[in-house]
Symmetry: C2
Subunit: 84 residues, 2 copies
């Protein structure tokens, strides 16, 4: 694996995994006033576009990383809509 | 531009721009209890790794999109550390 690829995989893992503590905090608090609805609406749209990009390029890692991120972002979005 | 590239640019724009409403909300409220410190620590590390990936690949769009996202994510991180 090239050095660039290595950084790419580290980057994808971190930017996807980052949403785990936010999802957990949101689940624990059941309060989301400080979480931006606009952010999660735009972000889930963006991650969906990344998935489509991965599908068009037939790139397993892009599809995988973005499916994982999409699940977490959708979870936070649903919590935001539910708890306001 | 290929269809895949088009979706890639749309995706990059959305996942970067998504942090604008969160940065704005954080700035307006001066309260960040619902924002996860862990998320922004991991996310800024991840975006920094994406920048390095872009630099290694000499990819202008990757560097540009991630510099923009990094500024916003760092801003939210600093607000989180300041307001707790």
């Amino acid at each position: 694996m090239s050095t660039a690829d290595l950084f790419g995989y580290i980057a994808a893992t971190l930017t996807s995994a980052a949403f785990i503590p936010q999802a957990w905090l949101t689940w624990k608090r059941k309060r989301t006033e400080g979480v931006s609805l606009g952010m999660y609406l735009i972000f889930t749209a963006g991650v969906s576009a990344w998935m489509l990009y991965g599908i068009l390029l037939n790139s397993g890692p892009i599809i995988l990383a973005n499916t994982f991120t999409l699940v977490l972002a959708l979870f936070i979005l649903v919590m935001k809509i539910r708890y306001g």
